[in-house]
């Protein structure tokens, strides 16, 4: 099937939203569009699996390669492998949930949904593109909607947060751009596949890899360039936070992974730096989270810690750890989106996110509280939820490296699960449990759309958590492909 559908669908939805008049219409269009995306994604999954089952061992399936800017050898080259597909599924799921959660958005609803859909389009484009230029194009497409979403519909010091987020992400993409130039003028192509075949001299890799990795790293909240995360997430409206943490942070992780596969020698050379930063991010984020008093800040900081696992997995550069990184990306996407959804639901009713002002919500809103607890348990890596699978895979992967430093990094990162437990339970204990205040006692529980959204995400979490072999089956072959390239680099040394 033609992957461009994944770009055309959101585009169509966006246009229809622009044309439509009243609120109900906009909502319905948005929902239908997003569901269509979800359908496409799942259909894609089926086709992909069939292809693989049929013994198609090509690295990328459903490739389309059209010349875009002939003079500059820029091609519109798209295609997916297992990892990309996993990301696409994640995105489509979160989009539906996001639309559902923001069902009751009244203020400038047309623009709101329009931007949401636009953002999703950027994400899809990013995940399917095999041409670095296209990749970069979609990466930046996804930035500005965030700025507007946060700045217009946000809360708190929204303008500053929006500005900070936009600028830091733009700085990230600027770095990426420099790296791209480097690649382009050393290989004279943007095509990832070809570049992977060609390879680059160690010097070139060592010079340009940092730009690319840092650039994408900023998107993935790499320490110490993570400071846009707390403010951005905290100020954003619910759906935007979901998209931000669930989708756009994944752009970074995905990019880092691709770059590591593209420049394996450099990745090996710098792996210790990557691991160092990742470990710091993990433990530091966890401790910082422990001190937060605002639910959204709690989740935002915990995202820093969790995305650290992604980077760690990539930095360890072995099959298991990379698998883990990918699963962690998906899992974190779902889990944190669910968390933000729950927080949003609570906020929309109690109008506060301060842990101190909440309590005993389980009494008033059992469903939302349950969702909250589930998200929490998933984030502290409880078996049966996706978090466990992801983190354990990362740990087992990074443990495979007998070097002392790597061992230390693994142990420290593993120690974060205790801290995670602490802050999750503190948050849960103070908001969900404990005595409830009188004005909160009469609040209503989730409405149908919220239930639906949460349900979707939870299903996703459970599928990964209970049957990890499914997602493994999806991404394993791809990781093998990546490893071929990466191991080549090892053997070179």
């Amino acid at each position: 099937m033609n992957l461009s559908l994944l770009i055309i669908l959101p585009l169509l939805t966006a246009l229809l939203i622009l044309l439509s008049k009243q609120l109900a219409q906009i909502r319905v269009i948005g929902l239908v569009g997003s569901i269509a995306q979800l359908g496409t994604a799942s259909w894609l999954l089926k086709l992909y699996m069939d292809q693989r089952a049929a013994g198609n061992t090509a690295t990328h399936l459903f490739e389309t390669n059209a010349v875009w800017f002939k003079a500059l050898n820029i091609n519109y080259h798209i295609g997916i492998d297992g990892i990309a597909l996993a990301m696409i599924l994640l995105t489509s799921l979160i989009v539906v949930a996001g639309i559902l959660v923001s069902w009751t958005m009244e203020k400038l609803s047309k623009e709101y949904f329009f931007l949401l859909v636009l953002l999703s389009m950027g994400a899809y484009g990013f995940f399917i593109s095999l041409d670095l230029f296209t990749l970069f194009f979609f990466l930046e497409v996804a930035v500005i909607p965030k700025f507007l979403l946060i700045g217009i519909w946000g809360s708190g010091r929204k303008e500053n947060s929006a500005m900070k987020l936009a600028l830091m992400l733009m700085a990230g993409s600027a770095l990426v751009f420099v790296g791209l130039m480097g690649i382009y003028y050393n290989t004279h192509t943007f095509d990832m596949v070809e570049i992977g075949k060609m390879g680059m001299s160690l010097g070139v890799q060592k010079f340009f890899f940092p730009f690319l990795f840092l650039g994408f790293g900023i998107f993935a909240a790499l320490f110490p360039f993570h400071t846009w995360v707390p403010d951005g997430h905290a100020s954003a409206p619910t759906a935007a936070s979901m998209f931000l943490a669930g989708i756009s942070m994944k752009l970074g992780g995905y990019g880092c992974l691709r770059m590591a596969a593209l420049m394996p020698d450099a990745a090996h050379a710098y792996s210790w730096v990557i691991i160092l930063l990742a470990t710091i991010a993990i433990i530091y984020g966890a401790f910082a989270t422990m001190m937060q008093t605002d639910l959204k800040y709690i989740n935002a900081y915990s995202s820093i810690s969790h995305c650290g696992f992604v980077i760690l997995g990539i930095g360890m550069l072995n099959k298991t750890s990379i698998n883990g990184a990918v699963i962690q990306m998906v899992s974190h996407g779902l889990m944190t989106a669910l968390f933000f959804a729950a927080i949003g639901m609570i906020y929309s009713r109690t109008h506060t996110r301060m842990v101190a002002q909440l309590g005993g919500l389980l009494k008033a809103m059992p469903f939302i509280s349950t969702v909250f607890v589930i998200a929490g348990l998933c984030s502290l890596g409880l078996p049966g939820f996706s978090g466990f699978v992801a983190e354990m895979t990362v740990f087992m992967g990074s443990w495979q490296n007998p070097d002392g430093v790597y061992r230390a990094a693994t142990v420290i990162s593993a120690a974060s699960i205790v801290v995670t437990a602490v802050y999750i339970l503190r948050a849960t204990g103070r908001t969900i449990m404990g005595p409830i205040s009188d004005e909160h006692a009469l609040l209503s529980d989730a409405s149908w759309n919220e239930k639906l959204a949460a349900g979707l995400l939870i299903i996703g979490i459970l599928i990964i958590g209970l049957a990890p072999f499914l997602i493994n089956q999806l991404i394993m072959p791809t990781t093998d492909f990546l490893m071929i390239n990466i191991n080549k680099a090892i053997t070179l040394k």
């Binding site: 900070k164 600028l167 830091m168 320490f223 110490p224 993570h226 400071t227 707390p230 530091y284 401790f287 910082a288 422990m290 001190m291 937060q292 099959k319 298991t320 005993g360 389980l362 009494k363 059992p366 348990l377 502290l380 890596g381 409880l382 078996p383 049966g384 466990f388 699978v389 354990m392 895979t393 740990f395 087992m396 992967g397 443990w399 495979q400 007998p402 693994t410 142990v411 593993a414 120690a415 699960i417 205790v418 437990a421 602490v422 339970l425 503190r426 204990g429 969900i432 449990m433 404990g434 005595p435 409830i436 990890p468 072999f469 493994n472 394993m476």
Partner: protein, 663 residues
């Protein structure tokens, strides 16, 4: 090799119950939840008894040795070619034994709760959680893969969290739940790392393979794991110790025991199930499960031994001073588990020397029954008085005869008075200790005496001493329930000793507490599966039994009638008593570490640094740019002559640059 696949249903039934009740319980089964889950659990219980019969008496034994049977195993999550998490069902003596224990005790608790929790607002939720716990516990027991153990381990932990925090709007309960989870979680970190070590050197996570690889002294895995060392200890020691750390956390061994007493905040039946009979012995089970590997490493075993023994003693001492009856029971549990631990520690693998192993399992078995009985008894007392404090009690024997009888039996059992169950298992342990390690033997003996003392202190305080308090009589009309019960409306008839559903379990368990001791345990469960000839040596038994009786008489003289002897005794011990009463300040230590070190010295600075240094740097960049832009605004002076001047300056600069410098 016959088919044991049906065993899969034993855990799956409770799981199904959990799912159904969890999703629809509140709406549709608000009243009937109890019946449903009890029914499903009854089925599991029957199944497990069937399994036991089949395994022990029909086809478990192949030429005199009980086999390990892998009834089911499939790869759940592949890490690397041969390292993977497998889900499966193992059938071997200890697994089957645990099946019996868990299902039957859980069943009792289910039945008991029918009355105890009647009218609770979240009745269905309660049973959902109970089923979840039962499921996880059963899954843990049947694990074939060490990582599978870890997973159910975590699930058990979380379900215990949920059940302790069942009275979610009671802050103390929430705090206790958090404490329990976090402390065990900390222990689990050790467990996890231990697993990773084992998996790395053993090259597999499958328990069977692991044992096979790491018990043959020449296998490459064994050589590598013993040769690799860190801080002077071999990786094997590290791995086992860390795994044991996990076990110690769940089994409330010193110094990770602090969560257990607080966990008594949960509903009493829960305590009976989780914190007496099943979850807390998971640690023992874990060590037993990996025992062959443990037996390869002296150091690890010693750690197990001494930690166990010390915990047993410490807990016993503290138990003598507590006044909250459930806490007393909690500490006694800790002490008994200490027994099982060091019994394992002193044991060898296989043959006559495997006595300790067998004894430990035996004690685990008997203890499960009489301890849960004690808890349930305490439960019915509390249920009547809505208080856990000894001072509110006394003289209840007339008001609640059945409870009284049951409780007495249980006390005798735990005190190790023949012919009650406790006697036999404890005898075995003492024998083993006597043969292996005299010091431990002494400790064990002393602890045994203490045990009987504080148990009877409890017994007398509840059922004798002063006259029954007015509260007890008026309980019938008393609707002021302790926190958590606050909004339930029990009708009068289930006061007093409560409904038959509450009495029945007491009776059954009492019967067990008497009966199970006579099971020829050593025939079935030994370290190597081969039967083991044991004999109760009357001469040997004199000492412990005598000691217990003396202790009992002592406590009788202290507490049977209200008198000041006990206060005198307290005065004698003085500071030591206070220390014991304060649980030797371990809690305070933990509080100090967390509240005074972790939060203010690690958390705060990091949070601060993140806002001010890391983020501050970014902001600094922005502000400096702005500053510069204001600083240089003078360039644009508005005077056309200056413009021309700058123009000419530019020309000059370029000329100089390119004619003289960059020639």
């Amino acid at each position: 090799m016959s088919n044991y696949l049906y065993i899969l249903w034993i855990p799956l039934l409770p799981l199904a119950t959990f799912v159904v009740l969890g999703l629809f319980g509140r709406k549709y089964f608000a009243k009937t939840a109890g019946i449903i889950s009890t029914a499903s659990l009854l089925t599991s219980t029957i199944l497990s008894f069937v399994a036991a019969k089949q395994y022990f008496f029909v086809d478990g034994k192949v030429n005199g040795v009980y086999q390990k049977i892998i009834a089911l195993k499939y790869t759940w999550l592949q890490f690397s070619p041969n390292v993977s998490i497998d889900m499966g069902v193992i059938v071997d003596p200890i697994a089957v034994m645990m099946l019996i224990v868990v299902t039957s005790v859980s069943l009792m608790v289910h039945v008991f709760s029918l009355g105890y929790m009647k009218g609770e607002e979240r009745f269905a939720t309660y049973y959902a959680f109970l089923s979840l716990f039962t499921f996880s516990m059963l899954g843990l027991i049947l694990s074939v893969n060490i990582f599978q153990v870890y997973m159910f381990w975590e699930l058990v932990g979380v379900s215990s969290f949920l059940l302790i925090g069942y009275y979610f709007n009671k802050p103390s309960a929430v705090a206790a739940a958090k404490k329990a989870f976090i402390v065990t979680r900390f222990a689990d970190l050790g467990f996890l790392i231990g697993i990773m070590i084992m998996g790395f050197y053993g090259g597999t996570l499958d328990i069977g393979l692991l044992i096979q690889k790491l018990t043959s002294a020449q296998s490459p895995e064994f050589l590598s794991i013993t040769s690799a060392s860190f801080l002077g200890a071999s990786m094997l020691t590290w791995g086992l110790t860390l795994i044991f750390m996990g076990g110690a956390g769940k089994s409330a061994m010193f110094p990770l025991h602090i969560w257990l007493p607080d966990a008594m905040e949960g509903p009493t039946p829960v305590s009976a199930l989780i914190h007496a009979a099943t979850m807390v012995v998971a640690g023992v089970y874990l060590v037993a499960r990996l025992f062959p590997i443990f037996s390869m490493d002296e150091t690890a075993l010693n750690i197990v031994t001494y930690v166990g023994a010390f915990s047993a003693l410490l807990a016993a001492i503290i138990a003598c001073t507590q006044t909250d009856i459930k806490r007393v029971l909690a500490y006694s549990t800790m002490s008994q588990i200490g027994y099982m631990m060091f019994a394992l520690g002193i044991s060898k693998n296989g043959g006559e020397n495997g006595l300790g192993f067998m004894a430990s399992m035996f004690h685990l078995f008997t203890h499960a029954f009489f301890k849960s009985l004690l808890f349930l008894g305490a439960g019915s007392v509390i249920h009547m008085l809505h208080s856990n404090e000894m001072k509110d009690m006394g003289g209840l024997r007339k008001l609640m005869p059945i409870t009284h009888a049951a409780f007495l039996i249980a006390c005798l059992a735990i005190a190790g008075i023949p012919p009650f169950a406790g006697f036999f298992s404890k005898e075995e342990i003492l024998t083993a200790a006597f043969h292996e390690n005299k010091l431990i033997y002494g400790v064990a003996l002393f602890t045994a005496a203490l045990t009987s003392f504080y148990m009877f202190r409890l017994y007398f305080n509840i059922f004798w001493s002063k006259e029954a308090p007015a509260k007890a009589h008026s309980a019938v009309h008393d609707h002021a329930h302790n926190a958590g019960h606050n909004d339930d409306h029990k009708d009068a008839q289930d006061h007093g000793e409560g409904t038959w559903t509450m009495k029945l379990p007491l009776i059954i368990l009492a019967a067990c507490a008497v009966g199970v001791g006579f099971i020829p345990f050593s025939q079935f469960i030994t370290s190597d599966g081969a039967a083991l000839e044991t004999h109760i040596d009357m001469v040997f038994s004199i000492a412990p039994v005598a000691l217990s009786i003396i202790a009992i008489l002592l406590s009788a003289s202290f507490y049977k009638k209200e008198n000041t002897k006990s206060d005198k005794a307290v005065a004698v011990f003085g500071g030591f008593y206070r220390a014991a009463y304060k649980k030797f300040y371990v809690d305070e230590l933990y509080l100090f570490i967390t509240k005074k070190i972790v939060f203010p010295l690690i958390g705060q600075p990091i949070a601060w640094a993140d806002r001010n240094i890391v983020d501050g740097f970014i902001l600094l960049l922005a502000s400096t740019t702005a500053k510069i832009s204001t600083a240089i605004k003078g360039l644009q002076s508005g005077k056309v002559q200056n413009y021309a001047l700058y123009f000419f300056g530019g020309v000059l600069a370029l000329s100089v640059l390119f004619i003289y410098i960059w020639k």
